[in-house]
C-alpha cells in the first residue's frame, strides 16, 4: 500500500473522528503516503491532525458561487483543476467517509485500484462499496440496534484496528504558552481544578440549556472551587452572555476569543470537559482530556460519543430517546430528564478520585443512564452502563449484533456457543436478567428469523439453478426469466419481516443494500454475488437464532456465578488523573 486517499467533506468533528484510521494506516503500512481531501470550511482542524502527508482542499463555496453566477465553465474548470490535483497520484485505495451524493460522484472521478465508500456506478446509480460502508448506511433504519461507533465503522471499513487507540490531535507549544499567561491573568493557578464547558452545538435540539450549565457551574464552584472556562466559536457568543447572566460566579468566558489552535490548547489544559455532542467534545477527547458528554435529542452516544478510554456519557433513558433523524420534537423531555443535579453528581463521582465503575440505582437517576467508555477486547470502543437495570430487548440485540456483524461482514469464524457465552457474560455483568421474560420477549423474533431463512433459502435455490443454466453454452433465457420472477417477491417478503420486526431490520436492510450494490454485468457473476448475499443472510439469521436459543441454558449455568463489573472491565479503565 503506497498511496491512500481519505475523503471527508463533512464537519470538523467528523474529521477528528477520522484520525484513528490515519493512525491505523500508518501503523499497518509504515511507508504509506496519505492524502486527505477535505471541505475548505473545516480544513483548519487538519493543522492539528497528525499522520497524513498531503492535503487537497475543496472549496465548495467556490462551486456554489460559480453556479449562482451561471458560470458553468468556471465551475467546470475549478472542479477539473481539483481533480487534476487529486489525480497527480495513482491511489492504491480511496476511502470516502463523507456518505453524501456529491462525494459519491467525486469518488467516481478519482483513479484508484480499490475504492471503499459511497460511489456511483458507470451509469450514475449509487453504490456502496465495502460491507462496512453498507453497514454505515444501515445506521439510519437500524439505529437503535447499532453497537458500533462511527470511528470504529471507519476502522472496520479500512480493515485496520490500530494499536494506539483513540483520537489524535497535536497541541502547539505556542498556544500552551498563550494559555498559561491568560490563566495567570485570570487568576487560574496551575493546581486549580479547571472544567471546560462547551455550551453550543451544531443545532438547537442538541444543546443542553444554558441555565442548566449555569446551575452546574454554581455547584462546582461552591463545592470544588472549580475554575470554569467557557469554550465556543464566535457564533456562540450569545450563549456565553446568557450564561454570565445566569451564573452566580465569575467564569473565564473564551467563547469567540480563541482560534482553533488556542481552543485545542484550552481543551487540553482542562481537567474535565462537560460538553454537548459537538466538535470540541471530540477535540478534548483527542488531546486526552476526560469528557462528560451530555447526550440528548437525536444524538446517540454509541455512534458519536467520546471515543477513548475513560470518558463518560449521560444519556436520557426515556422511550423516545434518541429521536429519529429529521424529526422536529416540540416537547424535549430528554433535556429535562438530565437536570443539573444529576450531572453534578456524575461530575462529583468522576472527581472523587475513586474509579467510577458503578452507580447504585435510585429514583434520583430515574430516566437517565450513565455510561463509561472503554476499548473492548475486539479493539473497538464500548460503553458500559454504570447503573445496573433490567435487560431490555434493545440492549440484548445490541449485544448480539456486536458479536454477529463481524462474523458476517468480515467473515470471521465463530461458533454460536462461544458467541453466546461471551454475550451472556457481558449481559449478566451489566444487566439484571429475568430469563423467563427474555425468552418470552424473543419468541416472535425467533419465528421471524426462521421465516427469513426459509425465504432466503428458496431464493438461493432458484438463483443456484439460474446460475447453473447461465453457465451452459446456450442458456435458456426464457426459462431463466421465468425462474427469476419469484426472486423479487421473496425479497419483498424478507423486507416486510424487517419492517415488522424492528430488531431484525438491520439484517434485512443490509441485505437489501447488498443487492442494490451488485455491480457485475453478466448473469453468472450477478448470480454468484446474489447467492453469497442470501448465504450471508441465512448464516446471520441462523447465528442469531442459535444464540437466542442457547441463552436460557447459559443463564442457568451462570446463576450465582455472576462476576462484578470490575472483573469484566479487567481494570482497563484509566483513572482520572488530573484531580488536584
Amino acid at each position: 500500500m503506497k498511496n491512500v486517499l481519505i475523503m471527508n467533506l463533512a464537519r470538523m468533528g467528523d474529521l477528528v473522528q477520522t484520525t484513528p484510521v490515519l493512525t491505523g494506516l500508518k501503523e499497518k503500512y509504515p511507508k504509506v503516503k496519505i492524502t486527505l481531501l477535505v471541505n475548505s470550511v473545516f480544513s483548519e482542524i487538519c493543522d492539528f491532525i497528525p499522520y497524513f502527508d498531503r492535503i487537497v482542499i475543496l472549496e465548495l463555496d467556490k462551486i456554489l458561487s460559480e453556479i449562482k453566477n451561471g458560470n458553468i465553465i468556471g465551475c467546470y474548470s475549478y472542479v477539473k483543476s481539483i481533480l487534476d490535483e487529486i489525480n497527480t497520484v495513482y491511489y492504491d485505495l480511496i476511502i470516502n467517509f463523507a456518505h453524501t451524493p456529491p462525494s459519491a460522484i467525486l469518488m467516481s472521478l478519482i483513479d484508484a485500484k480499490e475504492k471503499r465508500g459511497l460511489s456511483i456506478d458507470k451509469e450514475g446509480y449509487s453504490i456502496k462499496l465495502h460491507p462496512w460502508i453498507r453497514y454505515f448506511f444501515n445506521l439510519l433504519p437500524g439505529r437503535n440496534y447499532n453497537p458500533f461507533h462511527l470511528c470504529d465503522i471507519y476502522l472496520l471499513a479500512s480493515e485496520i484496528i490500530p494499536f494506539r487507540k483513540g483520537l489524535h490531535l497535536s497541541v502547539s507549544e505556542e498556544s500552551c504558552n498563550w494559555l498559561q499567561s491568560l490563566f495567570s491573568t485570570n487568576n487560574i493557578r496551575p493546581d486549580d481544578l479547571v472544567i471546560g464547558f462547551q455550551l453550543g452545538a451544531s443545532s438547537e435540539d442538541k444543546r443542553w440549556p444554558v441555565t442548566s450549565f449555569a446551575r452546574l457551574a454554581d455547584r462546582l464552584i461552591e463545592e470544588f472551587k472549580a475554575k470554569i472556562v467557557l469554550t465556543g466559536s464566535a457564533k456562540e457568543t450569545q450563549f456565553g452572555k446568557e450564561f454570565e447572566e445566569e451564573c452566580e460566579y465569575r467564569v473565564l468566558n473564551l467563547i469567540g476569543r480563541t482560534d482553533l489552535r488556542k481552543l485545542v490548547a484550552v481543551l487540553h489544559k482542562c481537567d474535565l470537559v462537560v460538553s454537548n455532542d459537538t466538535g470540541p467534545l471530540h477535540i478534548a477527547t483527542a488531546v486526552g482530556t476526560t469528557t462528560l458528554d451530555i447526550s440528548m435529542a437525536s444524538v446517540y452516544f454509541r455512534e458519536t460519543g467520546p471515543y477513548g478510554d475513560g470518558h463518560y456519557v449521560i444519556q436520557s433513558d426515556i422511550a423516545c430517546s434518541p429521536c429519529t433523524f429529521g424529526r422536529t420534537c416540540t416537547e424535549m423531555i430528554c433535556k429535562d430528564t438530565i437536570n443539573p443535579d444529576i450531572v453534578f453528581e456524575v461530575v462529583k463521582k468522576i472527581l472523587s478520585g475513586e474509579d467510577l465503575t458503578f452507580i447504585k440505582d435510585s429514583s434520583f437517576w430515574q430516566d437517565v443512564q450513565v455510561y463509561r467508555s472503554f476499548f473492548d477486547k475486539d479493539g473497538l470502543i464500548n460503553y458500559c452502563p454504570l447503573i445496573k437495570r433490567s435487560l431490555t430487548k434493545k440492549e440484548l440485540f445490541i449485544s448480539i449484533y456486536r458479536e454477529t456483524w463481524p462474523v458476517i461482514l468480515d467473515k470471521e469464524p465463530v461458533d454460536h456457543l462461544t458467541a453466546a457465552s461471551k454475550i451472556m457474560k457481558r449481559l449478566l455483568n451489566w444487566y439484571i436478567i429475568d430469563m423467563q421474560a427474555v425468552s418470552e420477549m424473543v419468541q416472535q423474533d425467533l419465528i421471524a428469523l426462521e421465516s427469513i431463512q426459509n425465504f432466503a433459502y428458496t431464493a438461493l435455490v432458484k438463483i443456484g439453478l439460474i446460475s447453473k443454466e447461465a453457465r451452459k453454452p446456450d442458456p435458456d433465457i426464457a426459462w431463466i426469466k421465468d425462474t427469476w420472477k419469484i426472486v423479487p417477491e421473496l425479497d419483498r417478503e424478507i423486507e416486510t419481516i424487517g419492517n415488522t420486526y424492528s430488531t431484525l431490520k438491520p439484517l434485512t436492510t443490509l441485505f437489501k443494500y447488498g443487492k442494490e450494490s451488485i455491480q457485475e454485468n453478466d448473469l453468472k457473476s450477478m448470480a454468484s454475488s446474489a447467492m453469497s448475499l442470501y448465504e450471508d443472510l441465512i448464516k446471520h439469521a441462523s447465528l442469531i437464532t442459535e444464540i437466542l436459543k442457547s441463552l436460557p441454558d447459559l443463564v442457568q449455568e451462570s446463576t450465582g456465578k455472576a462476576t462484578n463489573i470490575e472483573e469484566f472491565l479487567e481494570d482497563r479503565l484509566p483513572r482520572v488523573s488530573h484531580i488536584p
Binding site: 460559480e66 453566477n69 458553468i72
Partner: protein
C-alpha cells in the same frame, strides 16, 4: 464595369423572383442604385464589388473566395437544411451554398439596390424557389434549426442592422429550441378542456409547459359560492378566493420562471398579479375563448395582457383598439386530434351511443326551444343543465348527467347526423347574428363524423361550406337536411372525411399554438429577465476552448439551443442512457453540490 449579358440575367432573375415574391420583385425593379456601388473586374476575370471604400468581394478571385468561405462554415456546421446568410454583396457565396446544399436559404441584405446589382451580375434563377431575400427588418418565422453564416465584409458596413436581425433570430432560435410556458386554466367551465388541449399541443411542439390547473379548486369554489345567501358576502368571498389563487399562480411563476404565460378565459389571475408580471417583464397572453358580448370582463383585463387572442373579429377588434389593447389577434378554436378522432366502436358502444340524430351539450334556452322540433326523430340529447325541459325528457340521456369527454367522442362517432347548435340565451333557435365558431364544430369534424351546424359568419373562413360542412339557418332547413343526409350515407361520409382532412391540415390546437407564438414573435416578443443561470452557447464554446473534453461535450448543443445552463445540462444527462462521461460526471457533481449544500447556505427565487 458590368457584364455584357446583364440585362438578360436581370430579367431572368426578376421574372423568377416574381413567381415567388412579387412584392420584392417590384421593389427591386423600382430601386434606384446609389452612387457608391462600384463594380470592378477581379484578376480572375470575375466581377467584384466595392461599396464606397469597402471591398465586398476579393479583387483576385471572388469565386474562389466564396468557395473557401462556404467550406469554412460547412466543415463546422451540422445543420444541412436551413441557412441564414448575413450579407449578399454580389451573391457568389449565396449561389455557392445553394449549389452545394439543397437547403432553404434566407439572405439578409439591408440594401435593395445591392440586390438589384447582384441580379444583374449573377444568375440566381435556378435557386430562387428556396432562397428568400430580406431587405427590411421583418424576420420571417423560420421553423426548426438553422445556421447563421456571416459574410463579414457586408456586416462591417451595416453592423447595427445585422445586430438587430441577430437579436430577433436569437429569439427565434430560443422559440425553436422550446420555451418554458405556463398555461393557466380556469376553475371550471368551457375553457378548461381548451386549456388542457393547449398544454398538450404546446408539449407536442416541443415546449416545456407548466399547467396551473385551477380545476382542483372547483369543489371549494362551489362550496364558497353557497356559503351564505347574502350575495354581497358571497361576492366578497369569491373575490378573495380569486386573489388567493392569483397569489398561488404568482408563486408558481416565480419557481417555474416561464418565458411567457398563457391564460385561458376565466383564469383566476387578478389585475395585481398581471401588473406585477409586467413589472418583471414576463410576457402574458390571454386566449379569450368567449363571446365578448356576453362576457364583458375583457374590458377590464384585456389591456393588462401583452397579447390578447380572440375567437371573434369585428366589431370586437374595434372595441379592443379603443380600449388601448395593441397586440390582439384572431385565433379561432380548434380540435385536439390526439383526442378527437375516428373510432372503431364496439358493438356495445354502438348500442349505447348510436342514434340517427343527436346533440351533445348544455341545455341553453335556444336549444330547449329549438329541439322540440326534432321530437319525431330518433333523437338523443346528451349533456347536463336540462332540468325543467319536460317536453324533451324522453330524449335526454342519463337524466341529464354530465358526459365524460371520452364518451362524447364515442357519441360523435356513433351518430349519423350530429346537430351542432351554438348556444344563445336570447334566441328561440339559431342566432342570426352568430359569428364565432364553437369547439364542437371542430371536434365533430376531427372525429370524421357528420354534423349539421347553425350558420355562423366566421364559418366560411374556416371551412368550405357544403363541401366540408353543411349549415342550417332555421328549423325547417335543418329538418330538410336531416332527412336528406340520413338517406344519403355516401354524401354524408364524403363531407365528414373532407372536414376531417381540413382539421388535420389547418385546425388543430398545434396549429393554433404555432400561430400564437408566431404572432408573439412578429410583435417583438422579448424574454423576461429571470436569472436563468444561463449563458449564450457561442460564448460558452468560446470559453470552453481550453478544455478539449468540455468543448466537445458542449458542441453538441451548438445547433440545438441558443443558451445553456447547468439545469439544462443535468436534464439532458438524466434523460440519457449508458455510461456517463467524465464531463457529465463533473457536471453531476457540481449539481449535487448545489442540491446538497445550497439549501443550507442560500436559496432565492431569482
Amino acid at each position: 464595369m458590368i457584364c455584357k449579358e446583364a440585362d438578360k440575367i436581370f430579367s431572368k432573375n426578376i421574372e423568377t423572383l416574381r413567381q415567388w415574391d412579387s412584392r420584392l420583385s417590384q421593389r427591386v425593379l423600382s430601386a434606384s442604385e446609389a452612387g457608391d456601388i462600384d463594380l470592378i473586374s477581379s484578376q480572375s476575370g470575375a466581377i467584384s464589388l466595392a461599396i464606397g471604400n469597402h471591398t465586398i468581394h476579393s479583387k483576385y478571385d471572388p469565386i474562389k473566395e466564396a468557395k473557401d468561405w462556404i467550406n469554412f462554415y460547412l466543415e463546422k456546421i451540422e445543420i444541412n437544411d436551413t441557412f441564414v446568410i448575413f450579407g449578399l454583396g454580389l451573391g457568389y457565396h449565396v449561389i455557392e451554398l445553394a449549389r452545394r446544399k439543397d437547403a432553404k436559404i434566407f439572405v439578409f441584405e439591408p440594401r435593395t439596390d445591392v440586390l438589384k446589382t447582384a441580379f444583374k451580375c449573377l444568375d440566381f434563377s435556378p435557386y430562387l424557389g428556396r432562397i428568400t431575400f430580406i431587405t427590411d427588418k421583418i424576420v420571417p418565422f423560420i421553423k426548426g434549426k438553422f445556421a447563421i453564416l456571416k459574410y463579414k465584409p457586408s456586416i462591417k458596413m451595416y453592423e447595427t442592422y445585422f445586430l438587430e436581425i441577430r437579436e430577433k433570430l436569437e429569439v427565434l432560435k430560443r422559440i425553436n429550441s422550446g420555451l418554458k410556458i405556463m398555461v393557466v386554466g380556469p376553475i371550471y367551465g368551457g375553457s378548461l378542456p381548451i386549456a388542457r388541449y393547449c398544454v398538450s399541443a404546446l408539449e407536442n411542439l416541443g415546449h416545456r409547459v407548466e399547467f396551473v390547473d385551477n380545476s382542483i379548486y372547483e369543489e371549494t369554489f362551489f362550496h364558497l359560492k353557497n356559503v351564505t345567501k347574502n350575495r354581497e358576502h358571497v361576492n366578497y368571498i369569491l373575490h378573495s378566493f380569486t386573489d388567493l389563487l392569483s397569489e398561488a399562480f404568482k408563486a408558481r411563476c416565480c419557481e417555474f420562471k416561464p418565458d411567457f404565460v398563457l391564460a385561458l378565459a376565466q383564469a383566476p389571475i387578478n389585475k395585481g398579479a398581471l401588473s406585477e408580471l409586467r413589472k418583471y417583464q414576463v410576457p402574458t397572453a390571454m386566449w379569450f375563448v368567449e363571446d365578448f358580448r356576453l362576457m364583458t370582463y375583457w374590458q377590464e383585463l384585456a389591456p393588462m395582457y401583452d397579447y390578447f387572442f380572440t375567437i371573434q373579429k369585428e366589431p370586437f377588434f374595434d372595441k379592443l383598439e379603443s380600449s388601448g389593447v395593441k397586440n390582439f389577434h384572431y385565433l379561432p378554436l380548434a380540435a385536439s386530434t390526439n383526442f378527437h378522432k375516428k373510432l372503431d366502436l364496439s358493438a356495445e358502444d354502438k348500442e349505447n351511443y348510436a342514434s340517427d340524430v343527436s346533440f351533445v351539450g348544455a341545455g341553453y334556452y335556444n336549444r330547449r326551444k329549438f329541439f322540440e322540433g326534432l321530437t319525431d326523430l330518433d333523437f338523443k340529447i346528451w349533456g347536463n343543465e336540462w332540468d325543467g325541459a319536460t317536453s324533451l325528457k324522453k330524449f335526454i340521456q342519463r337524466n341529464g348527467q354530465r358526459i365524460d369527454p371520452e364518451e362524447i367522442v364515442k357519441i360523435f362517432n356513433a351518430t349519423k347526423v350530429n346537430i351542432n347548435l351554438h348556444s344563445s340565451v336570447h334566441h328561440e333557435g339559431v342566432n342570426p347574428f352568430g359569428d364565432f365558431v364553437n369547439p364542437r364544430t371542430f371536434e365533430i369534424a376531427a372525429c370524421g363524423a357528420f354534423q349539421l351546424v347553425d350558420y355562423r359568419s366566421e364559418l366560411p373562413l374556416l371551412f368550405e361550406l357544403d363541401k366540408e360542412l353543411v349549415c342550417f339557418e332555421n328549423l325547417n332547413d335543418l329538418r330538410k337536411k336531416i332527412f336528406y343526409y340520413l338517406k344519403h350515407e355516401d354524401e354524408r361520409e364524403d363531407i365528414a372525411r373532407r372536414a376531417k382532412d381540413r382539421i388535420l391540415k389547418e385546425h388543430t390546437y398545434e396549429h393554433r399554438m404555432e400561430e400564437m407564438i408566431d404572432f408573439l414573435f412578429e410583435r417583438g416578443l422579448a424574454f423576461p429577465g429571470w436569472n436563468r443561470g444561463k449563458d449564450d452557447i457561442d460564448n460558452l464554446l468560446k470559453k470552453a476552448r481550453p478544455h478539449k473534453e468540455l468543448w466537445e461535450f458542449l458542441s453538441k448543443y451548438q445547433d440545438k439551443v441558443t443558451e445553456l445552463g447547468l439545469d439544462d445540462i443535468i436534464k439532458d444527462i438524466q434523460s440519457g442512457r449508458g455510461s456517463l462521461s467524465r464531463v457529465e460526471k463533473i457536471f453531476l457533481f457540481a449539481n449535487s453540490v448545489k442540491d446538497f449544500y445550497f439549501p443550507k447556505i442560500e436559496r432565492s427565487l431569482e
